[in-house]
Every structure is written in C-alpha cells, then in structure tokens.
Symmetry: C3
Subunit: 334 residues, 3 copies
C-alpha cells in the first residue's frame, strides 16, 4: 500500500542491576534497552499548495514477553506547510526532544539521561510523564538560518478529558512548553521551558533546561543544565541538575559514549539530597540498520538521597534504587 | 506483501460539550470524531471458479491518547461468489449499515444519528451493541437490478460462547437481522428488522427501521423511521424515532449537513418521555483523502426525558446528559 | 516498505463440545481452530560476511470477537550465519516444535496433540506454558547431513524478570531444553528433553519425548512417546503418554488425519489415572493459501481421571472436561 510506510525497531539484550539497599540483584533479558522496541505506521499526503498531511501511529512492543497493543509511543496527525508543522495527538515533549540531542546515549540504555530521572530532569517528582503527553497540540516552526522553535500545549497531558461533576477539580495536567533551538554545522544550542498545572492539589511545576553540543570531529562534547521548581498543597521543592557528555567515534563503525551528571534536591525544611551518576558505553554498527551496544552506569548519593535515585528504567517512587546497571544487546531497525 | 493492503483513518479534533444538569462542561482534543481512527489490514484471494476468499482485520486507535490493541472494529473472513458473500466474525449490524446510508452525517460527529442513541434507534435501552456483533454469520446477496439483502445471525452477539454450568441461562444475546435494500440512481430505500433474545432475564427486543434517501443534485434528502419494542422480566417499553436529513454540496469541495430528529419512549406506567435533536455540520475536502469538518448538535427533552439523552459519544446509562456539543477537526484517510 | 513482510492467518469455524459431567454443551463460532488467527511482521537484513539479522513480531487475533493487541505468539530478534541461528525473545518451546512434526493434526483443531494437554505432554500439571516461553535464548544449529539441534534457555519463562526483595524466592521458571532432530527423505526422528525449575515451592519438572514419522507416500505414519516427572513441595507425580498418527492424502487437495493416544498419571499414593483419545479429521485445499477443515475427537477416562482431561482448547485446571469435540471451519493464509 503506497500510502503507508511500516517501520520499527527490535531491540533486545541482557541486563544486570545491582547495588540496591534492599532489592535482590536483577539479571535477565529485556526489550528496548537502547531504543524502545516498536512497530510504526506512517504516511504523508501532498495536499497541493505546499501543504502536506501526515500521520504517525507507533506501537510499543516488548520483544522479551511479546507485549504490545498500545500506541502510546506516538499517535498524531500533522499539517505541514510554509508556516511549519501543526500536530495534534500523543507526542514527545519538547524537553525530551532537547535531551535526546545533548545526551551522548540519545536517551537509551542505563546511560540514558532520563534513567534515574531523579538525577536529572523533572521525572522523579512531577506527576506528568516527561517523555510524552496526551492531547498535545504542537507547533514546529520552519528553520530560519538554523533557528527553530517547538511549542506545545495540552489541557489533559496525563489522561483523557474526563467527565467531572460540576465544580470538581480536575486531576489532569495543563502543560505548556516552548523549546527554541539553534543548529549551525557542528554547533547545537537548545532551551526548554515548560509549566505544569494540576488543579487538584494545587500542583505547579516550572522547569527550564539549557543544552548545547559541539562536534569537534574526533569528539562531540555536550552539556545540559536544568532546574525544576514544584509547588503544591503537600510540599515544595527545587531540583537542579547538570550533565556533561562525550561521544567519540572509533573506526568507521564504533562509538564510545560517556557522561557525568550531578543532581541536588532541596525540599522544604529537609537537608539537601545529592547524587552523581556516570555512564560509559559503546555502540558498534553491524550495518546501517543493526548495531551492538554495551553500557554501564553507576549512581552515588549522599545519605539524604538514599533510595531516591536508580539506574533502573522504571518509577523511582516505588523505592527502586539500583546503584549500578549493565546493558549489553542488539538493536535492529526496519 | 502483495497479499495485504494496509488502510486506515486518523481523525482528531476539538470538542466542546455543555448543557448538562450536573456535569462540568467538557472541552478537549478527541480522536475519531467524524470517523473512528483505525488501522486495518485486508486481503483478497482468487480461489478460481468465481470464488474469492477475503478478510478484514481492523484495529481501533485513539490518536489523542495512543490507545489501541483491539480489533473490535471489524474482524472477519468471507467467501464470495455468484451466490453473494458469506462472512463470519465480528461485523457491523445490518441496522448500522442502513443508518449510515440515510444519516447525512454518515454516523459521524455529534450530528451522528447514533449519538444520543436514546434519541434514535435502540442503543440506549437494549443491552447488545447496535453497531457491531461478535460471532456473527452474515450473508450479503448480489444485487438484482438494484435490490439486495443483508442478513445476519449470531448466538453470542456480546461476548464469547461461555462455558455454562448445566442448565444455567446464558446472558448472551441471540440476534437475527434482515435488511433488504433498493438502490436505483438517485434513490435509496432500505428496511431493517432484527430480534434480540437473551435467556437470562427473559429479555427480548423487536426492532424495525425504514429509511430512504433521494439525491436531487443540489440537495440529497433522507429520512428514517424506526420502532423498538423491549420485553423483559424487569420492564417493558417501546420507543419510536424518526429523522430527516439533508446534505447540500457547496462548491466542489464543501458540503453542508443538517438533520432533525424526534424520539419518544413509552415505558410501562410512566408518562411519555420525549426528545428532539437537531444537528448542523460542514465538511470541506482538502483532497480526496483529507478533509476538515465542523458539527454542532443540540438536544431538547421534556421533563420525563431528563438525563436520558446526550449528544456525547458514550453510554447514556451513566447519566451523561450533555444537551449541546461541538466538534471541529480533521480526518485523514490512508 | 521493503524491509517488512506482513503475513498472517485468519481461521474461523463452528465448534461443538459435549460430554461434560457438569457443563452444558457448548456450540458456537470460534477463531483459530486449525491455526491460531494472527497477523505478523517479519524482516531479514543481510549484514554481509554470511551474517543475517532477522525479526518476527506476531500478534494474536480473535476473529470471532475482534480481540488482539498482544504479540505473545512470537516476538524475537535473531542472528544467523554459518554457526546456525541465535535468537532472543518470546519463542516456541523445542517440545512444541517437535510435537508439531509428529502430530498428524499439526497441533491444530480438537485433534491437536496439545488439546487436552493432560492426555499428552506436560501442560496440565506443570505451571509453565509448554508452547512458548518468555525471555528465551534459543540456538538452532545448521543441518549436518539431516541432523540438527535446537536448544533453549530462559531464567524467566513465565513473566518478566521481577524485582524481588533481597532473599525472596522467585516464582518464575528457569527452563532449559534440548531437541536433536534427524530428517532424511521420508524419515523424521526427534528427541526433546527439558527441565523446569521454580525456586518458590521447590518445583521441578523433568520431561522427555521421543517422536518419529515416516512418509510411505500413500500414508505418513508417526508416533511419539513421552514422560513427565514433577517434584514439588506439595506433590510428586509422573505421567506417561504416547500417540500414533496417520495422514493420508486423498486426491490432489484432500488429506485424512487420524490419531490415537494414551495417557497415565501416577500421583503419590493415588490410584493410576488413565485416559485415551482418538481423533479423526479431514482438510481440503481450496487453494495454496485457503483450506476447509473438519475434525472430531473423543476422550475416554477411567474413574480416577474424571474431570482431568478435555478436548476443549483451554485450561484443564478449571474443571473443563468435554469428552467430545467437533470443529468445522475455514483457514486463510496471507
């Protein structure tokens, strides 16, 4: 069918997590370590007058267990033209898109800047998913001499627009975000600013992140700094985090990846919680579409941050606190 | 793969519902307003001797939230030949197919004849889904000079054939339906008759609908009248409903849609509940595959029908009673 | 998209089950009688140097109800070369692959050797699924003069690698399996041996099966014998089972299938439970991709085995004990 392109990624590998205060070490085969395993359907239609309609429907698949069925990775319809692109549906946050450009691990494996989200940006403490949002209306400007802007707004970032009894507060998140970027040859600079507001509980986030990268050829260096400020009926706190990263090509098919990151959390009346994480990785292309990868990451915290951070892909809130993680696997794109 | 065709619809837009007695107004982005968002896989095989095997597997997708995973839109295998088509699986009801031909909104948006099903045909009060049935054996006759017949039978229209303890009554629905149609140039006339029987609760529906449409060129006029009679161990009632509709082409790409409908419910020993609904819409083709749409609908009821009717796409039984609804969106077929 | 092949099976038919001690007879339309209805996506990439990467993502679909969304049929990534194939993900067990080669019904319809799993191999009493395993690392050797070996290992055959509290026993299954096969013209011989170990409950299975088939032309005869020994904290028992089968081509498009099987269960301190099953079937090709089928099977047990066996596709543990079953349907491959 000429209207549809099928694409996807099958990524599977071996994982080992250790260094928890109270959990057994965890070894096994997991799906989607470097990149989430997926199958997607997309298409573009030329509407004439420089206008295009396009769509993406991207299903999440767990290759280790055979799970699937939701299209929560991406699902949207877009109109593009000289004005840029307007898209509506479930989409990536501008923040996540920015992090992908400055994280040498491109948000994959245990080296992921979004792993142990407490260490980094927002995720551990804010209710809304920091990767994707529901019901998002997004705008992506054209590039003006390397400069472009991504902006987004949703009134219901977490779920569907529920039916609420007259006068009741919504528990869903109103979010707006703006992300100006500048790319010029080896240079990239990007800023993210977003606000989250949840009526129930009087919850409010203000988040900003500034990232940059420069490709010197033998090494691409990158850095990002960000702050999150949360106010709610229950508690107030502020987190600061930064990361520096390097990506070093080795031969024609290999790349060494490294990052170092620090994080501090200042909660109302509590001593400062601190963590640092370093990660080292290697990817090796078997072809344009298939590569092997290995990554190792380690987190150290002070006593105040015990149990708050983890290299494990998963929610911190349940007390998962693996300090060390190893991923070795293979990724195949189709 | 030459054996499979991928097709689908991505439909997303803005909705606003208001006029409820007790619910907050609801605004937001929703999927599948004019046509349910979907991805489908279908194929046909020529078996020789004029016989063909074909299949449809059609998955429902929520583009606003990224939901998916069920093929409850359509899933069937069919054999076709000179005798017509015999198909088995989950399929549309003959009633729904008929309504789609006489509703100017083609059963889409708030203008949908099936919206606020209480207003119209069957859905609000009968347990079985009036749109699709499980385990349906269907027959579609060839066209004889514009005349054809659709018939269907299922012993388990709601779920799977359950394992019941010896002697227990089944809670599933036995349904048979017949739908003769006549099409000749601008004229269409169709009749639906179906019966529903559920052993548990001694439930029985008898439903008939008669619809017609005539395309005068500058306007296509249509009308449908139907009755539903329900008897059960708990209650007996009868509903009558009719709709008149018009569809008016505007220029080469536009179309104005309008409908007006009335409904009455006579339940045992209760005063007659009455409602009327009108709907106005406009669709504009950006191309053969992509169009913009807008629709507005409003329901008025007498006191006896308070809370029984809604323009909202959803179950009436939970007390949703939005009197007014607006949909504005875009639909892309692929 | 040249990287992906879409394939699948749509199989639907009429079923009738009877002969239960306490359940009503069950009639109806079911999906996946001869072969599970499915849609799959697969691809192969040539990596050079004789190395290939490939993947399979296979979704289970219920055509009678429109269910879908899980890829638990098969989901894996494989690397192939002169050394054979190494694959990781959710995959068939070596035992199931062996049974498919010696069962004249090829594990489909009520005639299925895996139907009424109590009658045959393992399924009724062992916790792990005997058809597919999660997190399986599998190896398939090249063929050396008709001889090859399939081997597999998983530390978490049932679910995902869970997060366990330090020192707690895992309830998941560690399984290893080996399956040497020999094929030479009309002759096939295969052996399966596998062990299951579950730490929680101190559970252990040891299973072996020996199967063979010879194609005489006018008839293909096959036989399989197997034993399962289970030790656990709760109970110990041993089952023995064998099956003989025949497949007889009729004309160019038809095939008669027949099998007879016996099973005994010796549980600690209980009298021997015994069952025998026979099955008769016929398949008729309408084309290379589409065929009709019919199958009938019957189980007889002694008093000790009352309620332990069933021709019904489903879990024995819930007391389903249909002694007789009929399937008539159509299967379409795409």
């Amino acid at each position: 069918q000429s209207n549809v392109t099928i694409y996807g990624i099958v990524d599977i590998g071996f994982t080992h997590y250790s260094g928890s205060e109270w959990l057994d070490n965890r070894s096994g085969i997991d799906s989607g370590l470097q990149s989430g395993s997926r199958i997607g359907f997309r298409g573009v239609e030329d509407l004439g007058n420089g206008l295009k309609a396009s769509f993406v429907l991207e299903e999440s698949i767990g290759v280790d267990l055979g799970t699937g069925g939701n299209y929560t990775r991406q699902a949207f319809l877009a109109l593009s033209g000289g004005f840029g692109t307007v898209a509506a549906g479930r989409q990536y946050t501008p923040q996540f898109l920015l992090l992908g450009k400055v994280d040498p691990f491109e948000t994959g494996t245990v080296g992921d800047i979004n792993y142990g989200r407490g260490v980094y940006l927002n995720g551990a403490f804010a209710a809304p998913d920091t990767i994707r949002l529901n019901n998002l209306l997004a705008y992506i400007s054209p590039s003006f001499g390397g400069f472009n802007v991504i902006a987004g707004y949703t009134r219901n970032g977490l779920g569907d627009e529920e039916l609420t009894v007259d006068g009741a507060d919504s528990g869903d998140a109103k979010i707006w975000a703006i992300n100006p970027n500048y790319s010029n040859g080896p240079l990239f600079v990007g800023l993210n600013y977003h606000q989250v507001k949840i009526d129930a509980g009087d919850y409010k986030d203000k988040v900003w992140d500034l990232g940059a990268a420069y490709d010197f050829g033998p090494v691409r260096l990158s850095a990002v700094y960000g702050q999150l400020k949360t106010d709610s009926a229950v508690t107030d706190f502020k987190t600061k985090q930064w990361l520096i990263g390097a990506s070093v090509p080795v031969g024609t098919a290999g790349k060494v990846l490294a990052s170092y990151a620090r994080n501090t959390i200042d909660a109302d009346g509590a001593p400062e919680a601190k963590a640092r994480k370093w990660a080292l990785g290697y990817t090796h292309d078997l072809s344009k579409r298939t590569n092997l990868y290995a990554a190792y990451a380690k987190i150290n915290t002070n006593d105040e941050a015990d149990g708050l951070f983890s290299v494990y892909k998963g929610s911190l809130t349940t007390g998962v606190d693996y300090a060390k993680g190893l991923n070795v696997g293979i990724r195949h794109k189709f």
